[in-house]
């Protein structure tokens, strides 16, 4: 029969061509094994605005961008530790006030006369925040992509992030449905449910603290929320303070899959600005698939990617520093993709990764 013959011939053909061209130099190159990852890489020195007496500048000028052998791990319980410490003395104890009016992202006002008892929080960040301020018992439903904290396992999942079983929601009779995108808002409101829509923060990092406080106002846990927000703000300020003396750090390219990358007006773009990393996609609006030519031309000194192998395998990129050094940073998607209480951990992880020794 014709088909198998054709197939076999082609395979033979492929193998033949393959064999024939293997000896040529154009095969996809693995990084040269003779240049081990630990080889120090010459880095352009960074210009300092001023010298901070308490800062070990020497360490900074010799910033090794290679991946450290002992990467600094955050203790798992760190966030818990933060909440259990007594409130910093810098602010007065707050009291919850009801009724409270929350202005949704679309400008509409949602009034709460008392804390909602049966919340369906259709957003990972919201769930984490509510748990972080100790109000997790109010959540009766969420979507199946939410996996943190562990208590979420026992909470009912009503569909995945982009599909919702509205009937089941009505059945659960919640007194608040929280959404991060508007698709189901109208339908749920028509069914007589109270809906709060706050779209995920995608531009300004600092809005995150406000969102924490908003949840405090809604649930009445204003003090816990204030601690969480202040903690976030303090840690951001700390990073800002330490980096303040420096003009700019290394250039960075984040690959979120097939060269899709965040531009400046995104949350990640914001993070890079805070960390004084020069985003090579500075002229990209929101997210975009960056041209490989541009990446090579702008020569990023740091690459973050969740699929580093695809970049390592592409011969076009093998002259880029992080690829030569096999030092693509595989980020913890879980932290930085959810604008909740753990976001700061991801941020600090990046800071420690790219400025080793600077943040103690």
């Amino acid at each position: 029969m014709f088909r198998p013959i054709l197939l076999n011939t082609s395979i033979a053909f492929v193998l033949m061509i393959g064999m024939a061209s293997c000896s040529e130099g154009s095969s996809p190159k693995q990084p040269d094994p003779a240049a081990p990852a630990s080889t120090p890489v010459p880095i352009k020195p960074y210009i300092h605005k001023q010298i901070l007496p308490s800062t070990p500048i020497v360490a900074l000028t010799a910033l090794p961008i290679t991946k450290k052998t002992q990467s600094q791990k955050f203790p798992k319980d760190r966030i818990v530790k933060y909440f259990s410490t007594p409130s910093p003395p810098t602010y007065e104890k707050l009291t919850a006030q009801f009724p409270v009016t929350i202005i949704a992202r679309d400008g509409s006002e949602v009034v709460f006369n008392k804390p909602p008892e049966r919340i369906i929080a259709y957003d990972a960040a919201a769930v984490e925040t509510i748990f972080a301020i100790g109000q997790g018992h109010r959540i009766i439903g969420t979507h199946s992509w939410v996996s943190h904290p562990v208590e979420v396992e026992d909470i009912e999942k009503i569909g995945d992030a982009f599909n919702m079983n509205v009937e089941r929601i009505l059945d659960l009779d919640p007194d608040l449905v929280f959404l991060f995108y508007p698709t189901f808002k109208e339908e749920l409101e028509k069914a007589g449910l109270k809906v709060l829509l706050l779209e995920s923060i995608d531009d300004d990092l600092m809005k995150m603290a406000d969102t924490f406080r908003t949840w405090g106002q809604i649930t009445g846990a204003v003090n816990e929320a204030e601690i969480l927000a202040k903690n976030f703000e303090t840690r951001i300020a700390e990073i800002q303070f330490i980096l303040d003396p420096y003009h700019s750090g290394p250039s960075i390219f984040q690959d979120v899959g097939d060269l899709w990358t965040p531009g400046n007006n995104t949350l990640m773009g914001n993070v890079f600005q805070l960390l004084k990393l020069k985003n090579v996609a500075y002229d990209v609006d929101n997210y975009g698939q960056l041209s490989p030519e541009i990446i090579i031309d702008r020569d990023p000194q740091i690459i973050i990617s969740s699929t580093p192998d695809l970049l390592y395998q592409n011969p076009a990129f093998n002259k880029l520093l992080p690829i030569k050094n096999k030092s693509i940073f595989k980020s913890n998607d879980d932290y930085l993709s959810i604008s909740g209480p753990r976001f700061i951990l991801g941020l600090e992880e990046l800071a420690n990764e790219f400025y080793p020794g600077l943040f103690k």
Partner: protein, 359 residues
């Protein structure tokens, strides 16, 4: 041998001449498109430097060139392999599109529209997800898996269309649509059930050349060469296949065998195209129709020239996709669809009421 000319002294039947001159012009056009494709990109590189790099690679120029290594990489490892892959894929889609159209006597058949490409991408997805390492140096499972998926899809579409009475044209399209949607759904399910680190697969399914490498062109070339040789070999028979099947058989054509060989060849070529560039629609529709409008329906002319038009079109479409919104890239499928859908409507309106629904 009387009266070989009519009263005007004109030849009544001109002997068929292979369109060597058109092919030559076509190849020159492809060459020009390719040069533009290599010379233009989101990073500006002076044309002289582009040529210096190319000549030094071809050993035509031995002087030392003082160029930044970045430019060298951009030209030799990004633009050039990309243009070559677009050329091969465009030619494949043009030729296989023309073949499907001739075979199914359906001016709207296109590897994308009749579900072949979706089937092929399902095959490729299975390989992606199975975790089998799908490339062993210069051997890849992808084209083979794509081929298996594509051939299953096209045979099902074809069986449906011959099972259901006489309105072949719409049935084939609808069957292809259904099978394409089905294959896409299965692909979707497979992806949902796997871990989320497969975002590259999603963008592969969108189609494009952003990941083009030299090895991809080398990998698909044998499949293309074999498939295209068979198709071109059968190009004269394909003319006969334009008649109703029994009429073609009375002219000595083994229609069953011809159909089998051509479907397999066209699917092989499509699968090769799909396996590294994903789903790119409308090239297989546009290219043959342009040739038909210009030079008629002889498949000996139509097939090679469709390949040429497809190649040139896809090189330019990719060039547009990667430069129009600098510094980001658009999926090339967006560009081909922008050009292709109005064209599709035009063809649909033009063929309506004549050959489409028959007499």
């Amino acid at each position: 041998m009387k009266s070989t000319t009519n009263t005007n002294g004109q030849d009544l039947v001109l002997p068929y001449k292979y369109p060597w001159n058109k092919i030559t012009i076509g190849i020159i056009i492809i060459f020009i498109c390719a040069v533009i494709g290599v010379a233009v990109g989101s990073v500006y590189i002076p044309v002289t430097s582009v040529f210096l790099i190319l000549f030094s690679k071809l050993n035509l120029f031995n002087g030392s060139i003082e160029l930044t290594p970045a430019w060298h990489t951009i030209i030799w490892n990004i633009r050039f392999p990309r243009v070559v892959l677009a050329l091969l894929v465009g030619a494949s889609l043009g030729i296989s599109g023309a073949t499907y159209q001739g075979l199914f006597k359906n001016p709207l058949a296109d590897p994308y529209l009749i579900g072949v490409a979706s089937g092929a991408s399902l095959g490729a997805t299975i390989v992606f997800l199975s975790g089998i390492p799908f490339t062993y140096g210069y051997f890849s499972l992808l084209p083979i898996a794509s081929f298996c998926g594509g051939i299953v899809a096209v045979f099902i579409a074809y069986l449906i269309s011959i099972k259901s009475s006489n309105t072949h044209l719409s049935t084939l399209l609808l069957a292809g649509l259904a099978i394409g949607a089905f294959a896409t759904a299965i692909t979707g399910i497979l992806m949902l059930r796997s871990d989320p680190d497969l975002r590259p697969l999603l963008s592969w399914l969108m189609g494009g050349f952003i990941r083009a490498q030299w090895s991809h062109s080398i990998l698909i070339m044998p499949y293309m060469i074999i498939g295209v040789s068979f198709i071109l070999g059968y190009s004269r028979i394909l003319n006969t296949m334009q008649l109703e099947e029994y009429y073609a058989e009375s002219l000595g054509v083994n229609t069953e065998k011809t159909k089998r060989i051509l479907i397999v060849s066209a699917t092989l070529v499509t699968a090769a195209a799909v396996s590294f560039s994903g789903l790119i629609g409308f090239v297989g529709l546009i290219a043959p129709h342009i040739i038909r409008l210009l030079w008629g329906t002889d498949y000996r002319t139509l097939l090679p020239l469709s390949g040429i038009v497809g190649a040139a079109f896809l090189i330019l479409a990719d060039l547009t996709a990667r430069t129009i919104v600098n510094p980001i890239e658009l999926p090339v499928g967006i560009i081909t669809a922008l050009v292709g859908s109005p064209f599709f409507v035009y063809v649909l309106l033009k063929t309506k009421g004549s050959t489409v629904d028959g007499s």
